[in-house]
């Protein structure tokens, strides 16, 4: 059978059983009743909207090529809501454009980490043996270092660019997903329905991706959501230390770095990006915490 045919029969099973729609609806309805998920999601929606709409909003240009002496370090006012920085750039505009950088970097970094971690962790946990020995060893090796230090080392070695920051975070963060996935796969593969599907003639890849992986979605989702918050913090920290995005890019970390030098005379330059960073991170953490409750299989539907 060809690959698309295999995929096709899965999709058909999905559709003809009405499973997907029902599951999705159920999670949405339970999620909306959970205050943490609701608040977290609202914050994230606002942030994502700001990031997407940044080029269309009637805000000042976030980067000036020349220093505007007249506009330097102005306090918040009707014209500059969050004031201006040391080169006369509008802080409000830079904070909004910064959302773009932060969310892009964080979500791509977590996506890559997730792909690497899940693939390796699933392989290790499901097959065991030599594969597990090698992969689990590699995971432990990466896990030894704090993700931030590792990211700092990679970012410093690769040089400041948006793509390099994403790579640095992915490379240092995947081990967490790998470890989580491996543990889950180890536990799930011993369950009887795995044996049952083997006895009914399912292939290893099918069992891995249609039975082991879906049984691990809940913890992965929670971990990923909290991971985005972590990645935002790491990105900002890297930029703050000058190892992240290039200084001209409007990123929160860069703004914090810059603003810190003027904290005595212009509090707004450092405060606003900090507060927005805090709110965004809080949003993802709230979502993650809430999802942990919502996705708990014991709370799924009614109980027998």
């Amino acid at each position: 059978m060809m690959f698309h045919k295999r995929l096709n029969n899965l999709m058909i099973s999905w559709k003809s059983s009405g499973g997907f729609k029902q599951t999705a609806l159920e999670i949405v309805s339970r999620g909306s009743r959970n205050p943490m998920v609701a608040l977290g999601t609202s914050i994230i929606i606002v942030m994502v909207a700001l990031a997407l709409l940044a080029p269309f909003l009637p805000i000042a240009d976030p980067t000036l090529s020349v220093i505007d002496v007249e506009e330097r370090l102005l306090p918040p006012s009707g014209r500059h809501w969050f004031g201006t920085d040391n080169v006369g750039q509008d802080v409000f505009s830079r904070v909004i454009w910064g959302t773009r950088v932060s969310l892009t970097v964080a979500s791509l970094a977590i996506l890559f980490s997730l792909i690497i971690g899940v693939t390796l962790g699933l392989t290790a946990g499901y097959f065991g043996g030599v594969a597990d020995y090698i992969i689990a060893g590699t995971i432990d090796l990466f896990w030894t270092f704090p993700a931030f230090l590792l990211a700092l080392a990679f970012a410093a070695a690769l040089g400041p660019s948006l793509m390099n920051v994403i790579l640095a975070i992915s490379v240092s963060y995947w081990a967490g997903f790998g470890r989580l996935m491996r543990g889950q796969a180890l536990a799930v593969r011993e369950r009887q329905f795995i044996e049952a599907s083997r006895a009914l003639g399912a292939k290893s890849w099918r069992i891995m991706f249609t039975h082991v992986l879906p049984n691990c979605i809940a913890p992965l989702t929670v971990w990923a959501s909290v991971g985005v918050a972590d990645a935002i913090t790491i990105e900002s920290s890297l930029s703050f230390l000058g190892a992240g995005t290039p200084p001209s890019t409007p990123s929160w970390g860069n703004m914090l770095n810059l603003g810190m030098q003027y904290i005595g005379e212009a509090w707004w330059v450092v405060t606003f990006p900090g507060v927005i960073l805090l709110i965004t991170v809080l949003g993802f953490n709230l979502l993650g915490d809430g999802l942990r409750d919502v996705l708990d299989p014991r709370m799924k539907g009614m109980r027998r």
Binding site: S16, S17, Q192, T210, N215, P297
Partner: protein
């Protein structure tokens, strides 16, 4: 049973676990034949190799276990020589298996419909949504599930144990397999549900024209369901007979022990009779009969020579020296 076509013929099957501490012989030379439209019961206590026989047939012996000798011929095809790919085509399509605990045999994160659909579309190459949903409903109706339209959209935890086992039966029978292996299919169920599920299983297997291998430790279930019985002890078959013969005239001391240990209704007993002693360690095989330490009739010969299976009455085979007077000495 002359004149009937065998579905599966197992000869000298030996499955061993090679561990650091030594080799455990889980199955030690199993000979077994299941004929068309027949249901064979395999009875024995925990750890005697009943389930291992099933896993060996499906070639799903858990690592580090391995089939080390013997042959398994399924409809003339040697299963031990097939590649993993070919074997996969047989599992679920030609040989299916039902497990003991229905509450853990279904994937908790998918609906019943999805799981049925996956098996059906995979084995029957159905790619049309409507055809498949119709087929799923038919299969559920087939195992006499009321309101299949609702059950299709339900998750395993929303169903009762009996319902789940019915779904498992539906999954196993959805492709009309030639052989169904039921590994203690009713052990985890309520006693009232047990009878229902057994009757259903029996009817459906007959209806589809499959053979069944029913693994259990409950002789009552065998009496109700099976045409023929094999009694297993410590990785070997010790007695094989038509169900009625076995219950009427048990020969092997172990079988006799099993039958007396079974309390009968209306009989007043202060103490239940038991078979004394414990199962021998499968790691250190010795030349004699494995039941020797627990047997009331054991002789010196039993310690030295392993008894072979011999037909002592038509269709009634037993591996015990008590019935082999003078024959087959010292050739184990």
């Amino acid at each position: 049973m002359p004149g009937r076509k065998p579905i599966i013929e197992i000869k000298g099957l030996r499955t061993q676990f090679i561990l650091r501490e030594g080799t455990v012989t889980a199955l030690d030379g199993i000979d077994l034949t299941i004929y068309e439209n027949e249901s064979l019961g395999i009875v024995g206590e925990t750890g005697c190799g009943k389930s291992m026989t099933a896993f060996s047939i499906l070639r799903l012996v858990p690592s580090p276990g391995r089939i080390t000798a013997g042959s398994i011929r399924f409809k003339g095809v040697e299963l031990t020589k097939l590649t993993e790919d070919e074997m996969r085509g047989i599992r679920g399509r030609l040989i299916s298996m039902i497990f003991q605990d229905p509450s853990t045999s279904l994937d908790p994160v998918f609906t019943i419909g999805f799981q049925l659909g996956e098996v059906i579309s995979l084995h029957q190459s159905i790619y049309d949504e409507q055809v498949l949903s119709k087929k799923i409903l038919e299969t559920l109706k087939f195992v006499r599930i009321a309101a299949p339209e609702t059950v299709v959209k339900q998750y395993p935890h929303e169903l009762s144990g009996g319902m789940k086992q019915r779904v498992m039966i539906a999954l196993a029978l959805s492709c009309n397999p030639s052989l169904l292996i039921a590994d203690e299919p009713t052990t985890a169920l309520d006693v009232t549900i047990q009878a229902q599920v057994l009757r259903l299983l029996k009817d459906l297997v007959k209806g589809v024209g499959s053979s069944m291998m029913l693994i259990t430790h409950n002789l009552g279930i065998v009496a109700e369901t099976c045409d023929r019985v094999c009694i297993m002890y410590a990785g070997r078959i010790v007695e094989e007979a038509v169900t009625l013969d076995l219950f009427g005239k048990p020969m092997h001391p172990y079988t006799q022990g099993l039958l007396t240990a079974f309390p009968k209704l209306g009989e007043k007993k202060e103490e239940l009779s038991v078979i004394r002693g414990t199962v021998p360690n499968l790691m250190n095989p010795f030349p004699g009969c494995s039941f020797v330490d627990r047997c009331d009739f054991a002789t010196d010969q039993c310690r030295r020579v392993r008894p072979k299976m011999a037909e002592v009455a038509p269709g009634h085979l037993v591996a015990c020296h008590l019935y082999l007077i003078g024959g087959e000495k010292d050739n184990a």
